[in-house]
Subunit: 431 residues, 2 copies
């Protein structure tokens, strides 16, 4: 990629690199790019994979296997066939897996709402009362998912950052904090191909989460298994079964499991899932019964007809992978070409086996500057700090790259431009 | 209908009528009916009217008029074309009408949740704080909709019954209460073809609701216009424009308008709407932004293609009416034949021009007995008291009849059976 417009700095820049970095950046700006790596959205060619859904279930098809008319009210737990299809992938027994609306984010949000406004199993009082008294808090592995943090911020739930490792959150920290204060009520987890690191929780991490003593009797793991089937390599990475581990540890009610088809079929017209212990499922159902007379079961039927079974789901995800893997490979290749191997020069990045994101770490104090430079060059990146509670990355180092939505050519151009911005920001910092 | 099994009592029963009434009831039980008039669900032949939806939008159709890909995240306000289509029917300007998920009940529930957990425009503090301090309450016109009452009960919001009249809630009572206490935060209204009376709010009622002084600066009218287009006669009954009246009265933020296609297309796979003042809409959108990345816009597109425009919607509702009007007429005819004209004998019932329900008033202290007798005879009725807060009808007089879901023949058999039960309960009471 080294040519008249580009420089290659496979080592940490020094003040001497500044003039060349500035020249390269000016050339980048002159290209007048308009590119976007901000959000983890599927691309149009991925959505095309599910276009059969647009004609399903078909004019004469509106019953489930039991003969229930799915066009009418009812069926609050969702379509049995769809629950059975997703149960093994989400590691939840089908009879404790609910198929709900079009957004797992909504289910997570609403679960927090219901815990605030009514006692969850094991709670001594409603979280809203505890909040008025001592405040309540969630543990937030960082870097993490900004929309999880937004739910906490919206409801005034304090956020306590916990460092991520390649095996999941630093469990020494998690165990110490969870045991210390009853006001710590939960932890946000994306256990497989985490957002944004792509980390996969090790079996030991899962077991320690299940087994650890918590000061709060109503502590909950919000297990957002958003990328359960979203593999980028031939390896279908598996994680330990959180519900089984919690049950074995005598903490059957500890985990809430969430999932969805948002990045399987259509991002706004899919199906969300909730799974947990019998007591938790009954608790949530009793609350949902006051707000709905049943989910959109016709859309659930559409999904059953389209996906057919576990093999159908696997085959679809393989087609997603064929479209996505080249984009992720391009990010790694171009960053390596322009910045040296990960961790060698001014950049360090993840090379995930699945999921939707790459986490790029730049020299301390440079992330916001890189994002600002990229913006000047017409490349939209997720705001620096978005991966941390309150948008505050204390080291100002983490940038989330989302290469799925743009075309391969745009991803290549954008990442090449990001590398130029990293070089300039690092050279400026070295001065 | 008078035959060997039936008696006709077109006057209030006396003790002398008891033996015949008992004989008639035993004959009814012997028929071994299994009928259900409990819920306001559309019947299968009504759902069939919208079966084209099951194949829409079709394999190659997934964009709105502006070219937005509706399969992806985004579009939190909903599909512009669908909002424009429903705007005149719900009397909300399209730019202040949101098209959301599959249930207006959910939107009502969530609006209460957000008012509990964050200040609504005009509020001095969150309702949850006011609740911990003085308690909060809603005015509940009775008889009314049990699912409205369930939302209040679930969140510990006190319910204050207000009598219904044929013109809407008794406004002398509403005005006195609303002006009296700042803890009274809202009123539930089904302004057109009310559940279960079928009452239509008069223009004067709407204007007084809009104009009345309220002790609470954050008082809200929950305007559940569930039956906006659900006419049972040739007359398309119109009501005054609550948002315009509120604005004219200087209370622009007073009303939340709700609606849905649940009884237009599919009861579980339709679209819900929310409309209000600019400030209220922005408030709700800012809250929804934390819980969703957009509604199911593909389903909204399906509805636009299917309904086409206002005339398409009117034509569909005319086909519903052709199926429903005979059922409502049968209830009125059979009750008249068996009990005398409404109010003359032991029964008094409504003859609504639209909506989904008929309200049957029986002699004081008889409603629960009638429902129990009907159950014994295999006829499921909505529990007596369900039309009142906490399930408590102090006079024990109101029974909600829901004739839409059953076939015409079943409606006829069920209502004839109900008349027998009314006669027996009234004769027992006379003893």
């Amino acid at each position: 990629m080294a040519n008249g417009r580009h420089i290659v700095t496979t080592r940490t820049p020094t003040p001497a690199d500044l003039p060349a970095a500035q020249t390269a950046f000016r050339a980048l700006v002159d290209r007048g790019l308009k590119l976007d790596l901000t959000r983890g959205k599927p691309a149009a060619d991925q959505l095309d994979l599910s276009n059969d859904l647009l004609g399903f279930p078909g004019r004469a098809t509106f019953s489930d296997a039991a003969g229930t008319d799915l066009r009418n009210y009812g069926g609050p737990a969702g379509l049995p066939e769809l629950r059975a299809l997703f149960a093994p992938f989400l590691q939840v027994p089908a009879d404790r897996l609910l198929a709900l609306g079009n957004s797992s984010l909504t289910v997570m949000h609403d679960t927090v709402v219901h815990a605030l406004l009514s006692e969850i199993p094991g709670a001594k009082r409603r979280w809203v009362e505890e909040q008025a008294d001592t405040g309540i808090a969630f543990l937030c592995p960082v870097p993490g998912y900004d929309r999880h943090f937004s739910i906490c911020e919206r409801f005034g739930i304090d956020m306590i950052p916990v460092p991520m490792t390649p095996d999941g959150p630093d469990m020494d920290v998690v165990e110490r904090l969870a045991a210390s204060e009853p006001r710590i009520k939960g932890i946000w987890c994306v256990p497989k191909y985490s957002n944004p690191d792509g980390a996969v929780y090790s079996d030991a991490t899962v077991r320690r989460l299940a087994e650890m003593p918590t000061a709060a009797p109503d502590f909950r793991i919000f297990w957002d298994n958003a990328y359960a089937v979203h593999h980028l390599t031939e390896e279908e990475v598996e994680i330990a079964d959180i519900l089984a581990e919690c049950e074995a540890a005598g903490h059957a009610d500890r985990a809430f499991v969430f999932g969805s088809t948002s990045k399987v079929t259509f991002a706004s017209a899919g199906v969300a899932f909730f799974g947990s212990s019998r007591a938790n499922v009954e608790w949530l159902q009793s609350k949902l019964a006051k707000s709905t007379i049943g989910p959109d079961k016709v859309n659930q039927l559409r999904h059953v007809i389209f996906l057919r079974d576990g093999d159908g789901l696997r085959a679809l995800m393989a087609r997603h992978r064929a479209l996505l893997a080249p984009k992720f490979e391009a990010v790694d290749r171009i960053l390596t070409e322009r910045l040296g191997a990960s961790g060698e020069g001014p950049g360090e990045w993840t090379n995930p086996k699945g999921g939707y994101f790459i986490s790029l770490r730049v020299p301390e104090g440079c992330a916001a500057r890189v994002v600002a430079l990229a913006k000047e060059a017409g490349i939209a990146l997720t705001p620096a700090g978005a991966t941390h509670p309150y948008g505050q990355d204390p080291e100002d180092r983490t940038i989330r790259l989302a290469p799925t939505f743009a075309t391969l050519a745009d991803v290549e151009a954008a990442v090449d431009g990001v590398a130029t911005c990293v070089q300039l920001a690092a050279a400026e910092k070295a001065v």
